[in-house]
Symmetry: C2
Subunit: 325 residues, 2 copies
């Protein structure tokens, strides 16, 4: 598989300008005090479709030659990638079909539907989403758009890192560390390439739920680790069994290590974002702030720390329960 | 009373740069469809202290000569002005005392306390906050900081309009209309001066709760109108009995007319902001979006419409109830 570099990420950043949103970076003194560090928060929950995923999806779909666009695209995803692909397809005038688990958050299913994509629901416990998606893509002659283990996806997500570096430079400051959630690893590896193009000394750390700390254990051991099957967390967006093939090859060289937090830490971070930032962050999207507040690497204490909010697609009932809890 | 102009608002904008946040302007297609107009949403709920009020407070406090700062400031407010004054005083190293109603939202009282200000609680039904604040200011030799009817306050809030105009110009577009909530009227009259410095043709409309539509009736009749006593709304931040003296003198010349919405419209706007923008907006802060969605002036249909989110300070239990309602 072709290996993304800082250069190809910067190219993707140029390609995506004007197609995706330049999301704000926020500062907050109350959160700084709680974390014991100076936080710069990159708000991809304010991105189009409510998560960073439209960056990679748009970058991937732009590679499909004009004559191949009529057959459209197929993707499988529990939600944010689904919405990213559906919106990117809509903006490029392509049909899209998304294979989603029947227990995906309603807000994510609604988002996909609102962008005009077809939805095929499957049972997470008895069916293989990969097999279903491949069969449908074959039948349609459509392009299957993977959610992370693909160079164009990694480069597209990486545009977030290039943009973050530009914004930090504009502020006149510099980041010693960045904490970013990791599921498959498309965002964090792309972000590391994109950010390090400007500042190679910045250390990048994964954020995960404790029971799904495959990246943390992989980085600590130097070997790709797999999560025990059947573990659960409220972080629906980042529950992948292990780092991807491409993303691990990149991540083991680019990343400094991993943080891990409990679901209670996640809920606390969501409440702090509500209270101090007036932002809605979904559970997986709050893993990096939860890590900054509850599992900050000791070398990051008192330093400038970037924190990525990766998404804000959370069902109202779940959000209501968490903020009033 | 000295009368603010577009020039003095632009001066305040320059004075406040680097002291307050340049808040983002967001676009959202789903909200455009619901409103039947192209909306540009100015997010002052993401301002320091969670509302625009720190703009006016900082501008006012900067007028106090260095030798007068030790005696500090006094203000009365149900919440957002309280937090703006408390934070501005903290940043300028001045003591502050805030007179607040005992039924103010807890999140606002906590915000004031967190910035180190003293709080004097009073009973909204039996005590006069003006009298209490004047007495305390006299005792302390402190400066009483009014919440809207003051040229420096109007000019400070107006920096939001100058900033909005700059951001719209950067986007390469132009606004035909702006809808902004109106309580005392400090924000909307300052915003009108600040925005019209760049584009005098933009029409500015007030947004209010139906039972508190003093601005709408005042603008329609050309005479300052007063709300019936005892009317209630969930929009705690904008429940003033009538336009102010200075703000009415400005508003009757600058404003095009008024919109008014029910509390159910307000709740709907808060839910739409949660769902589509991932933003927390307080009831009064959502009045302009509620107006765009439910009481858009007919001449604004299909046009470019600015919408101001003035604040996001809402108690978690109230917000939870509204988004899951």
């Amino acid at each position: 598989m072709r290996r993304p570099t800082s250069t190809t990420v910067l190219e993707a950043y140029g390609r995506l300008k004007g197609r995706v949103r330049r999301t704000p970076v926020l500062r907050n003194e109350a959160l700084d005090e709680l974390a014991g560090a100076k936080l710069y928060i990159k708000c991809e929950n304010l991105q189009l479709t409510g998560s960073f995923k439209i960056r990679g999806a748009t970058n991937r779909l732009l590679q499909i030659p004009k004559e191949g666009r009529a057959a459209g695209v197929v993707a499988f995803s529990s939600g944010n990638h689904a919405q990213g692909v559906a919106r990117a397809a809509k903006l490029l005038g392509m049909p899209a079909l998304i294979v989603m688990p029947s227990d995906a958050p309603g807000v994510k299913i609604d988002g996909v539907r609102a962008d005009g994509a077809d939805i095929h629901l499957y049972d997470r416990d008895t069916e293989s989403r990969e097999a279903i998606a491949e069969r449908i893509a074959d039948e349609r002659g459509a392009v299957l758009v993977p959610s992370f283990d693909d160079p164009f996806i990694v480069e597209g997500q990486g545009s977030c890192g290039a943009e973050f570096a530009e914004q930090i430079a504009e502020s006149g400051d510099a980041l010693d560390h960045i904490i970013c959630c990791a599921g498959g690893g498309g965002l964090i590896t792309g972000l590391a390439l994109g950010y390090k193009a400007s500042d190679p000394s910045t250390k990048i750390w994964t954020a995960e739920p404790e029971a799904h700390d495959d990246w943390r254990r992989s980085l600590a051991s130097g070997e790709k680790q797999v999560n025990a099957p059947g573990t659960r967390s409220i972080c629906d967006a980042i529950l992948t069994p292990s780092p991807g093939e491409l993303t691990w090859a990149l991540g083991k060289e680019l990343l400094a290590g991993g943080c891990a937090v409990s679901d209670d830490h996640i809920r606390d971070a969501m409440r702090q974002a509500f209270r101090h930032l007036k932002l809605v962050v979904e559970p997986g999207g709050a893993a990096a702030l939860a890590s900054a507040l509850h599992d900050l690497p000791s070398e990051a204490k008192g330093k400038n720390v970037g924190v990525v909010f990766s998404g804000g697609n959370v069902d109202p009932a779940q959000f209501a329960g968490i903020i009033s809890g």
